[in-house]
Symmetry: C2
Subunit: 242 residues, 2 copies
Amino acid sequence: MKEGPDIALIGSLIGDPARANMLTALTGGKALTATELAGTAGITLQTASSHLSKLEAGGLIAQRKQGRHRYFTLADDDVGLMIEGLMGFAAYRGFTRHRTGPKDPALRKARVCYNHLAGDYGVRMLDSLIAEEVISGAGDTLHLTASGADKMTALGIDLAALTRSRRPVCRTCLDWSERRSHLAGSLGQALLTLFFDKGWARREPDSRAIRFTDTGEMEFAKLFPLPAQPSIARHHQQAVDA
Amino acid sequence: MKEGPDIALIGSLIGDPARANMLTALTGGKALTATELAGTAGITLQTASSHLSKLEAGGLIAQRKQGRHRYFTLADDDVGLMIEGLMGFAAYRGFTRHRTGPKDPALRKARVCYNHLAGDYGVRMLDSLIAEEVISGAGDTLHLTASGADKMTALGIDLAALTRSRRPVCRTCLDWSERRSHLAGSLGQALLTLFFDKGWARREPDSRAIRFTDTGEMEFAKLFPLPAQPSIARHHQQAVDA
DNA sequence: TTCATACTTCGATCGTGATCGAAGCATCTC
DNA sequence: GAGATGCTTCGATCACGATCGAAGTATGAA
């Protein structure tokens, strides 16, 4: 017995409601202060401080001092993917937090997943990128094609900078609302940043939801057309049925 | 705040060491009795019973009465994938359970992941299946090709039976030791069953490890040849580096 | 310097949940 | 039937950890 890695440690870190709320908030991608996190979790600053030090000791979050503030973020992409994965599992089981709020449709349409685009739009974007052969790959191994690299450069994305880091350029991330993959990795991050920079989309205040502007919707539809007759329809159906 | 699904519930279920041990044991795929699970977790039968009812209420496990025994299994494939995913995260963070046991190399080579093959051999098998165009697909959407269906049928796999169920035929499952995907879904299960039925491999007693026989090794290498010059080498490197 | 803000540490309280003994129920064997 | 085995339920204990008040430290503002 006692085989394999220890999942109880991570489970217990996530298992506390206050910590889970903080982690969920941090999945929004913005760096938050201890006071802000205490507010979202509904606890005092002292208690929050205790939780935050535990999360940091567990390697789930990182902090950055800036003046008299301490900004907390998720430790890295992996933590974001792991939490988004758990959310997918929980959502599928119906473990929603009591009422599904009014913001729910907006979250399902488009939201921030740590640092990249998730929700219906996120899944559509990856589908389109694959259909247009910007990205190719089988299984979980994705990579940019030569023509895809040209397209991304034309969009104004500095591919050299992306490949310079040690992070993977293209990764899949399981979407909790769609139960299909969207694009993560440094390219996924760069694309979301592009949307913000071009003014095509902006974050809803105090939410993970992303609202596209009218021109943003148009440009998105133009850049990421849906395949007319998706060859993956059969599998998609299975994924929904499963 | 309070957006999205509730991950604290699942976290707290997994967060208890006794429950985590039971779930890990059940990831071996075999149905286990309450007494056996109590043994692996190192607790009395009464305590185990309490934990098991909680896990069942949370939808993570299912039980099946058989005479005076109650056999427990993971509720479905999704639970297995979720736990294997957490293990991958935990292993990568170095959250191993104190000493990495002597069985560790065997586990990394080949093991049962709920109902399909995992470890180095599992990853190699999926790589080969994709390289040989038995399975195709981009991102996380995998499906059998026409020629692949013929090959599987020739092996003695009843594809009609696989597609009859509502489960997906091909799925990816993140491997905690390799940090890459292997094949899950009903086809993944059917292939592992085939190895056992043909006598090519057998389970180590009281372990998730799988030991291939000499002929099993040969047949496996013949059936699932490695691509000579893997086109995915670049991405693989990234995944390892990340 | 003085005050305010942001956060941590200490210490005490308190509740929840893990644990196990004992008793009860179901099923199989003889 | 009697006895044994497998498991659940009840009840009590007990420890750990979540919580917050109070005090202490660091940084910025006046």
